[in-house]
Amino acid sequence: MSIRDLLTKELSEVAPLIASGEVSPVELTQATLDLIHQLNPVTRSYTNVLDEIAMTEAKAAEKQIASGAYRGPLHGISYSIKETLATKGIPSTAGSVILKDYVPDYDSTVGSRTREAGGVLLGKANLHEWASGGTNDNPHFGRAGNSWAMDRIPGGSSGGSAAAVSLGMGYFSYGTDGAGSVRMPAGFCGVVGIKGTYALLSRYGMIPPVGPGQDHGPGILARSIRDAAAIMNAVVGRDTRDPASFAYDAPDYLAALEKDVRGMRIGIPSNYYFELIDPEVEAAVRSAIEVLAGLGVEFEDVHIPYIDEAMAVSYVGNVSEFHKAHLRMQREDYGDDLRYRFMAQEFVLAKDAARAAKVRDIFKASMQQVVSKYDALIAPTTCLPAYPFDADEVQIGDSSVDIKAAGVASEILLRLTRPANIACISAVSVPCGLTSGGLPIGLQIMGRPLSETTIFALGHQYGTATGRAVSAVPPMVAAELA
């Protein structure tokens, strides 16, 4: 097997080869950088490729491993970080020209912990401007293409991260998820996306910082649940720099992957999640349910209270003071969709914002009560597959949707992922097949807070049963590496 053959493998397969000295982190990193330089002019998955830093870190890892100081499965493994996570000494722009010259003097906690685990940073990943949308049609850094069809959206906001992982341009990536920004692009690009329980992954280093109670934090994009579990083992843990971080005796996420799923009870939402859905997406998810049933999992229909109401006001009163200030100083530096969406929040009455927040709280408590009765809930990650950037209209079942109308793209793209953020629960998206047109479909598994081991076990064992435990290789990179 050549070094290029390893670029699209799981880190879990590559890490033992690095640990044993059979594979050189330096050669592997150089091969990855070569692939990035081949593909990125077209894919625009990366905004900033850090050749020098990557090679320095790879050389250090190789030296440490050769001296017997192997740190674990991330040692010598390359990865990327989304632009909304701070990287010390490296521009961290949040995908906006407003921060084009911002160079933090600190690392995000997930970044620093990955560095301590021996990870090799390849660069910063493209995103939807300010991590506030789902198309990744970034007016400043360009469109990051979908790894399976470059003319289609990769999803967002962590679209560059998802496409990079899918295309072998790094073994994993840190995105951020405040409404589905990790799971949705994972679904569209055929990789795994993790949104941990609220503040389980430290939010220190998010740009701009997130407020208390807002379930918006780092998430993981990886090629398998197994890889994500290895990453979780390295980065989960209390962080006093995030006020919401909490003391928690974290489990061994890798060890839990094989836990018995027989007899687990899963709720299938009887309202909302399957009401506006592409038939091929629904068929794939129903098929996944049958596979899990074959593994001994039991299913029951469940009604989700207040979800329509909470989603109808999910944006009301939800814009940060950071943006309010910048809209006054430099509104021309926002892309059109964000500029007008954010400015519209000026029209929200305080009493309405309070009422909307209360309704979201009611839904949050209701959703947590529902998931507490089950081991997990299961649903599609998105209600449609990735659509072309230039589409004016998309078809979802019997409905034609004017996708270019103000606010509609975000509403549609994040429709099935945002509820888990409002409810502050754990959730994962795993690949569950391709459409007849060859586009990935995501299966979303949602669990109680701190039930990551359960949803990981379900996702992993579903993947193993279907031959989808590791992300499929898109034709574009398969041809490149052939």
């Binding site: 329509d308 109401e309 944006y315 500029r339 400015m343 000026e346 309405d352 309704v359 409810a423």
Partner: protein, 65 residues
């Protein structure tokens, strides 16, 4: 579709009352769909009796205790 679409003079009146941002007619036209969406959302939740929800039933952080 909002039950009562906003017209520009109404939106201008709202802007004058609620924000110090100086907004052109062009900007108001672009903002309008988002404001209509906000108003539709509020209409959707208008019938929920918030006083009927017991505060203790809203505790969603029990997993941290």
């Amino acid at each position: 579709v909002p039950t009562k679409p906003l017209d520009l003079p109404t939106l201008r009146g709202m802007a004058d009352a609620m924000t110090d941002l100086e907004l052109s007619d062009y900007e108001l036209e672009r903002i309008k769909p988002y404001v209509e969406s906000y108003l539709r959302g509020m209409e959707k939740i208008a019938s929920i009796d918030l006083t009927s929800i017991e505060p203790e039933s809203l505790d969603s952080t029990s997993y941290l205790k």
